[in-house]
Subunit: 663 residues, 2 copies
């Protein structure tokens, strides 16, 4: 990066691209002091800020790479930026500063993407995005009844920006990326024509800039920066991971589905730990070991499953319930986060209390990795699990590293991923055992082999239904998360909202064109249709698993590519078509690798779909074989079982793609 002196100030450019422009009349930096209010309700937050001071630091003195800022000439410097390579190091000289606002140069027609895993808006321009890991919300749209009811009953309706996985990093259509290295609450405000405003509730470690010759180049750089996942485990290519939580009955149900033609790679039983019965219904028992009552002789069953080519997967999260056998062990060792009085902090998860394992204590993290995940899960025979609940660190606990829990809250998902990855590595199972997370933050990429899109509602809604999964895959994929998948059929069924056969089928159609197909029975299995309860749905699902398996050779190449280049499996259209600006805001279709274009049907009752095909290629509709010249929006039939998918004419795997329809 280069500092250039301009009349009344300076500008900073990155390979010739102006990133920052500061003059006394139009300052780029504001500092001050805020008093935040943050209230957490079971993973949902109410946050507001009383900004006591916001002072433009209008006066800047540049000395070499160092820029000293003050409010006016003659006043002492309050803030320093130092340009070093592609980083901008920041330092406050005034200890009262706990808010920093930085204006980054913007152009009116600029697009921006990223922000972690965003579920509502892929192109973030025109909106404001707080970056704070939390429940994403139920409904996520203040104009819907479900959101209203979730808000009123549990403060849990959410909004467009709520996500399990925020990250203060974006890519601009100007072909640069910006990353703020901080775990503090921050806000990206992309609402103004001439600048983006970055707000940080702390003095950040630094700001990092990346410039690229192409978007592919930028994505590769970010993947190098944040970490890269191993290739997918071989066993995954065998079919879908069936999510069943029906105790030992799960095995028989799986067999029946296999008999119906479903290709199965894994059986995922989150209830492997047993159940707790509360007034809200059955919950998992939050003590992480097999439950003999619910799954008798499970090791034997797992071995038999493996013999038949199917892996077994479970569930874990970073809490331990007070009435389970692990709690007193961890408590005796002092491994839990503490309350104000120095006692073990207890968190109410709904009629049961839990301790928070304090991963800032290396001994506690090691204990959890070895004794819980290592021995109880990996050594027991599990090949994977959902690593849930990374986003719930209470903001008022006292941690072993003495850092404010408000600063550790965003860091928690990555610490949690690291504990899981360490356990997997300790057994030499990296790239073989597959855990999946919804929570994330900067650096989760280095540890978590697979994202899952969190708890969608069981519907086609714009902000909490099927379509949001695409947005999540594309945004997180740009920041170095190569693998994304979701609960087929969605998860959250509340207030009478239940799954339709159509929803499950449309979701399965999409999932066949993602790295991992996995089903879920949802939060209320008995109230909702299950795949094995409807012959049409079951046959459709079986066929989609065949397509998934058919595409395995291609997916294996994409996985190799991801491991070597950092390119995600699911990609926004613009990644391979950066000169076609029509692709920049598309968030309901994606490239599956370079050569397949997938445009899932994401609304109910559709017989056809419009799809924009990028310029410069010929795109062949896989079901009809019709070829379309790119650069236009086409409408194709989209009956159930024929999701709009196109291959790129001349692709290396053309023959494989041509035979999708026969799979």
């Amino acid at each position: 990066m280069q500092i250039n002196l301009i009349p009344g100030g300076f500008s900073i450019s990155l390979n010739g691209l102006e990133i920052l422009r500061h003059t006394a009349a139009s300052p780029a930096l504001f500092v001050g002091h805020g008093e935040e209010r943050m209230d957490m309700y079971r993973g949902n937050f109410e946050i507001d800020d009383y900004v006591v001071e916001r002072t433009p630091l209008a006066h800047a003195v540049v000395t070499g790479e160092r820029i000293e800022f003050s409010a006016a000439e003659g006043l002492p410097a309050r803030f320093v930026m130092t340009v070093s390579g592609d980083h901008l190091a920041t330092e406050a000289l005034d200890p009262t500063i706990n808010r920093v606002w930085l204006r980054v140069a913007a152009e009116k027609d600029e697009h921006v993407w990223g922000g972690g895993e965003q579920m509502s808006y892929f192109d973030m321009r025109g909106r404001k995005f707080p970056l704070w890991t939390s429940e994403p919300g139920v409904g996520r749209d203040k104009s819907t009844e479900i959101t209203f009811k979730a808000d009123v009953t549990g403060k849990s309706g959410g909004d467009y920006y709520n996500t399990n996985y925020p990250q203060p990093t974006y890519i601009s259509s100007r072909k640069y990326a910006l990353h703020v290295e901080t775990t503090a609450y921050s806000v990206f405000d992309f609402r103004r024509d001439g600048f983006h405003e970055i707000e940080i509730w702390a003095v950040p470690e630094r700001l990092e800039f990346f410039s690229g010759s192409s978007f592919i180049d930028l994505v590769g750089q970010l993947s190098n920066r944040f970490g890269r996942q191993p290739t997918l485990p071989d066993w995954v290519y065998g079919g879908a991971i069936l999510g069943l939580k029906d105790g030992e009955n799960s095995f028989a149900r799986m067999e029946k589905m296999r008999e119906a033609g479903v290709k199965v790679s894994g059986l995922w039983c989150e209830d492997w730990v047993g159940l707790r019965h509360t007034s809200f219904g059955a919950r998992l028992f939050w003590d992480w070991q097999a439950n003999e009552a619910r799954y008798p002789s499970l090791r034997q069953k797992i071995a038999e499953l493996n013999d038949s080519g199917v892996r077994f997967l479970g569930y874990v999260n970073p809490y331990l319930c007070v009435d389970g056998p692990l709690f007193p062990v961890a408590d005796a060792k002092g491994y839990f986060a503490k309350d104000d009085q120095g006692k073990t902090a207890l968190v109410d998860f709904g009629e049961f209390d839990c301790g928070v394992v304090d991963f800032t204590n290396p001994d506690a993290a090691d204990w959890f990795a070895e004794e819980v995940i290592g021995k109880n899960m990996l050594d027991f025979g599990l090949s994977g699990w959902m690593a849930d609940f990374g986003e719930y660190l209470p903001i008022d606990v006292k941690l072993s590293n003495s850092v404010d829990a408000k600063l550790m809250h965003n860091a928690w998902p990555t610490l949690w991923a690291e504990v899981n990855a360490k356990a997997v590595a300790s057994r030499g199972k990296t790239g073989e055992a597959l855990f999946f997370m919804r929570a994330g933050f900067t650096g989760v990429q280095a540890h978590c082999p697979l994202l899952w899109g969190g708890d969608q509602s069981v519907d086609f809604t714009r902000h909490d239904g099927l379509v949001t999964v695409i947005c999540g895959a594309l945004s997180s994929g740009l920041l170095g998360n190569a693998y994304h998948h979701s609960d087929i059929g969605g998860y959250t069924s509340l207030f009478g909202n239940v799954r339709t056969p159509e929803l499950i089928m449309r979701w399965a159609e999409m999932a066949a064109f993602t790295p991992v197909m996995r089903s879920h029975e949802g939060n209320r299995p008995k109230d909702n249709l299950q795949i094995d309860q409807d012959a049409e749905v079951l046959a459709h699902f079986a066929r989609m698993t065949s397509i998934y398996v058919h595409l395995a050779p291609y997916l294996r190449e994409l996985s190799d590519e991801a491991a070597s280049t950092g390119l995600p499996v699911q990609r926004p259209l613009f990644l391979h078509h950066e000169n076609d600006r029509n692709t920049y805001a598309i968030q309901d279709a994606y490239l599956y690798g370079r050569d397949l274009l997938v445009a899932p049907v994401w609304q109910a009752g559709q017989a056809e779909r419009e799809v924009y095909l990028p310029q410069g290629e010929t795109w062949v509709h896989v079901w009809s074989g019709a070829a379309h010249t790119g650069g236009e929006t086409v409408t194709v039939p989209a009956p159930l079982g024929q999701p709009p998918v196109f291959y790129r004419q001349g692709a290396a795997r053309e023959t494989l793609f041509q035979s999708i329809k026969a799979a």
Copy 2:
């Protein structure tokens, strides 16, 4: 007021009471710059502010009565305060300043009241109150279905602070009052223990302070400051004003009600101007003159009514519909506000457009007072009217006085009141013709003889039902509005919410103990129960009008007292019991004059009610005659027809009060 030098700063005290304390380490003044976004949707506003700068002006130099503020020593002064008597004059030396924040000294257990006419919270401590005249909202509680539906369908759900009549004035339990002289958007923030923060989106004219030996003294001072209403017209004491809008059928319905024993002082027909039929239902025709089709021979009817002791009242608002005969007259004279292009601005009120009569043009105001109100209404025989819609001035019109409409928006209700008062005065009818307004702002007191509490929902809800009217009467009463009343039975019936007989009866019970009893058919008369449709309701109403008439000698004394001292008719308990702090937060009971304590039943299905009785007096329950020593909460039976009312033993009107039950 006195400036005192203290280490590192100064303090300002008012008769020994510290009001402001400023030091470099803890500044009292912040200035800066904001970029507001204000969107209006039919009287409802979405407002937010991008605060670009908020600088503490830490450095203060006191020279005599003048205080110059700068951000730091050595920097030029940006703001000046000048202490002059009980005023604090303010001046910005920096033209970029459009936001001012001032911290006023506060105590932890302090209470604050005022803010204009507040409908949700009488004691404002612990909350933040934007002061901007608007629709108050339907439901006004984000946790209710009605509010949600109103928000989604019309952005009209509102919140606790939305009011037709805000005013940047408060009274503190420390026995001082503060008034900000400005019409700009402002915010009173009473959420902090150690200070109140006053935010103003402009440099205010000045801040005015009042100190009092008692709350009664303070209320009297505010009434002197803002203006005082005349006594009630003699004719009002004759009974209720019946609100009917049934065309000429209204007369027959009134007669039937009189035959049933209802005492009637006036007949109020808002549809006297005729109707317009829209897809939303019948609306009034916004052209202000009698409609011969709907009310044939109305002058004759009015004369006959007057002969029988009943006055006739109508309706007017400051808009003129484009398809009425008055519009082209005003348009030809250039009396309407203009749009950006200098053309007459047209405002859509729902399938019909109107011009906004520009009251900043003295000729336009005079024309409206003389030609519309004077000739069409007063000379026609009207004895009063609802003067509606003062809160709708669009913020983007161009006005004759060249002041930004954002600054005139809050001023509009007072200008509108002045036009009405001028018309009344021109006919020598001050204190005789009675118009009533819901909209208000600083100074409306001098012109508007009677407030009406706006459009409550037809229910018992906490934030939009019957009880909110008490809060409105008490808060506005402290600021010099002696007379308040409301629509008996409420007004707004939406989303299936309709009146119950109980609601009408409870409302009438309360209204009998207010300055004016007036009924309203509501926004959807045909969907809702009317008083004359139910024998029990009608008989109950008749009895309540008898009680109202019975109390007329007492009310006449209260009206004389209001005219001479500025004390409101309805008073918070603490006004006469300032040493009893138990009374400070009570907002669901009031004193009706000094000698009656009224505690309306404001919830459904109640057979009794708890009432706090102030210390130092003996309170006699008017229905049972039971005497209670003050200082305790008592529970009294409260069947329909017996609202909890107590008189002060030994009151001058004791005999009158004893015979209420026989009225």
